[in-house]
């Protein structure tokens, strides 16, 4: 339980950084942290006590996998969500560089002022 809750704490910290911080790079940091927290939560949810990786190795008894294998579905979801996060990040960094080139600052409040 406490593990789930801690990953939610991580989520909240990321969201706080995303919303309340003025600096664009800090906002990117925030979105990266929220992604970590979700991935962590999904993997935690799928863990089984004394679990083994959901991969059938040569010479491994199939029953052992069924008995002890951890939930493979969240892992597939996390793989997808990591890649989605990477895509979002690439777009954000591109926007961030472009805005720096236009406004010469990373500070959102200054950008708002410059825009007039």
């Amino acid at each position: 339980m406490i593990l789930y809750f801690l990953s939610l704490v991580l989520l909240v910290m990321g969201l706080y950084c995303l919303i309340a911080k003025k600096n664009i790079v800090k906002k990117i940091v925030g979105i990266v942290i929220t992604e970590y927290s979700i991935n962590l939560f999904l993997i935690l949810v799928g863990y089984r006590k004394d679990g083994v990786a959901p991969i059938l190795l040569k010479g491994m008894h199939h029953g052992e996998l069924v008995q002890h294998g951890v939930d493979p579905l969240p892992q597939a979801l996390v793989l997808t969500s990591i890649v989605i996060g990477l895509g979002t990040l690439a777009l954000m960094v591109a926007l961030c560089l472009r805005m720096y080139e236009k406004y010469k600052t990373f500070d959102m409040s200054k950008i708002n002022k410059l825009r007039g």
């Binding site: 990321g14 995303l18 939560f41 777009l91 926007l95």
Partner: protein, 500 residues
């Protein structure tokens, strides 16, 4: 058609990948490809209206093990809205986008956005919905910043931040649901939630979903990004964003999840009605003060979405009589379709005006109906329609929603809806007076009518406004009926897995 249901996403995706390869050889390829693909999709979508509900299992894996695609009245209705408006926006873009560079990337992103929205609408799997939602969102972030000007970039960044918060909330909700039920398949999820009931964890998920999808639909406390993002985008994209995207990613998903998966619930209904009333009023009042053509339209989008939200909320209330719920839902869906038509008409019209005059400041425009008769008349019809003047379509949908509110005993919300109707009328009269009628400024004496590729979609949409107003019973009555029963009959949705 049933066997080829996934083509709604597969065609635009494959076409995008192919387009960018072909565009290396000839630059015309992107235009032709986008036109053909969206035309084909529009035809396919209209064809879908004549199909009975069915499900499609991707890869022939029996649900809930594979991904399930579902077709019912609601998804068919949304497919028609998305693809027909997308097709018209592409026709408009052919000429309009010549003022921008990198046209082939524009069309690639456009098709990806269409693919994303189609994917959201046809899917029957929670995580798959999230993935396609992200495709549509990311494409729209990039399209908002397409002009790479200062304002565009800032609007796009703001949109990206709030969209990121929304996606986070949605994905976390999905993760908690998966932990609770062990499944991602929507009909299966509905059955499991029936067994679990409305526990604290489920209500927490609901809160996350209302926040996430509310951000995507831009209901009032979550609306900060829309008035910046929608005006900044190129006009056809504003039309797609305001006309379709907020509905496919926000409204449709809220309806699908709240009605078919969670089931009707008084608390959620109350929250949605409150948010609807709030968005309707606040955004309506804010729209009056705007001096930018597109910004005013953007605020009015939020306000009109409030009507839809309030209708959904009323229908969601389990204490409401079934006839009232059905009436509210019909009104809400009708208004959703109507809004897609007239808001895209108005945004495209603003694009045509901007294309010829080079400005969207209301103070610098005026008397344009003499110089641009076709554009002017279409925009006039669109604004009368959104303001709720009979006999255009906007009047009937608003009337149905107000009647349903009054029948359901919500006097305050009902009178608020009437009041906001008058506010809408007021600011659209202001809009008309300052752009179409009145004195023509001297700077604009040389203005000509917009090119044919731009007036054609305007005329088609204006005609739709009239036809949908006059021929309600003949044209859309049965379609809305099918969509309504798809929502109110949760059992049929759950049984798709067992029966199919």
């Amino acid at each position: 058609m049933q066997a080829y249901y996934p083509l709604f996403t597969a065609i635009p995706l494959a076409a995008t990948f192919l387009t960018l390869l072909l565009a290396k050889i000839t630059r015309r390829a992107a235009d032709v490809m986008a036109f053909l693909v969206t035309a084909l999709l529009a035809v396919m979508a209209v064809r879908m209206l004549f199909e009975a509900p069915f499900m499609y299992t991707v890869g022939n894996w029996k649900p809930p093990f594979g991904i399930l695609l579902v077709s019912d009245g609601l998804s068919s209705l949304m497919l028609v809205v998305i693809n027909v408006i997308g097709f018209l926006a592409v026709i408009f873009s052919l000429k309009y986008m010549t003022t921008y560079t990198a046209k082939e990337k524009y069309f690639a992103l456009f098709m990806l956005m269409i693919a994303g929205m189609n994917g959201v609408v046809i899917t029957g799997d929670m995580f798959n919905m999230y993935v396609f939602l992200e495709i549509a969102s990311i494409a729209s972030y990039a399209l908002v910043g397409f002009g790479t000007g200062r304002r565009e970039l800032e609007a796009s960044f703001k949109y990206l931040i709030l969209g990121g918060v929304a996606s986070t909330a949605i994905l976390f909700g999905i993760a908690i649901l998966y932990s609770l039920t062990g499944t991602l398949n929507m009909p299966d999820l509905a059955q499991q939630l029936e067994l679990i009931g409305m526990t604290r964890a489920v209500s927490f998920v609901m809160a996350l979903f209302i926040m996430g999808f509310g951000l995507k639909a831009s209901a009032v406390p979550f609306h900060a990004w829309l008035p910046d993002a929608h005006p900044s985008a190129p006009a056809p994209i504003s039309a797609m964003l305001s006309g379709v995207l907020i509905k496919a990613l926000g409204m449709y998903t809220i309806m699908r999840i709240m009605f078919d998966i969670v089931g009707r619930n008084a608390l959620v209904a109350g929250i949605l009605m409150f948010l609807g009333a709030l968005s309707m009023t606040v955004a309506g009042l804010l729209a009056i003060g705007q001096s930018d053509f597109k910004r005013m339209l953007a605020y009015s989008s939020i306000s009109q979405m409030g009507y839809v939200l309030i209708a959904i909320g009323l229908a969601l209330n389990p204490n409401a009589e079934l006839t009232v719920a059905a009436l509210a839902l019909i009104g809400g869906l009708f208004h959703l379709v109507n809004h897609a038509v007239f808001k895209s008409l108005l945004f495209l019209g603003s694009g045509a005006v901007e294309y010829r005059t080079g400005t969207r400041d209301l103070g610098e425009l005026g008397g344009l109906i003499r110089k641009m008769p076709v554009t002017g008349t279409s925009v006039a019809i669109g604004s009368l329609s959104i303001a709720g003047v009979p006999p255009f379509n906007g009047f009937w949908s608003k009337l149905i929603i107000i009647i349903a509110l009054l029948k359901g005993g919500y006097w305050i919300y009902g009178s608020l809806a009437v009041l906001v109707g008058f506010i809408t009328l007021f600011y659209f009269i202001k809009l008309q007076r300052e752009t179409l009628f009145g004195k023509l400024p001297e700077a604009l004496t040389g203005v000509r009518e917009a090119p044919f590729a731009m007036t054609l979609p305007l005329v088609i949409l204006a005609a739709l406004c009239v036809v949908m107003g006059l021929g309600y019973v003949a044209v859309e009555g049965s379609l809305l009926e099918a969509a309504k029963s798809a929502l109110l009959d949760k059992l049929a949705y759950m049984n798709l897995v067992i029966g199919g």
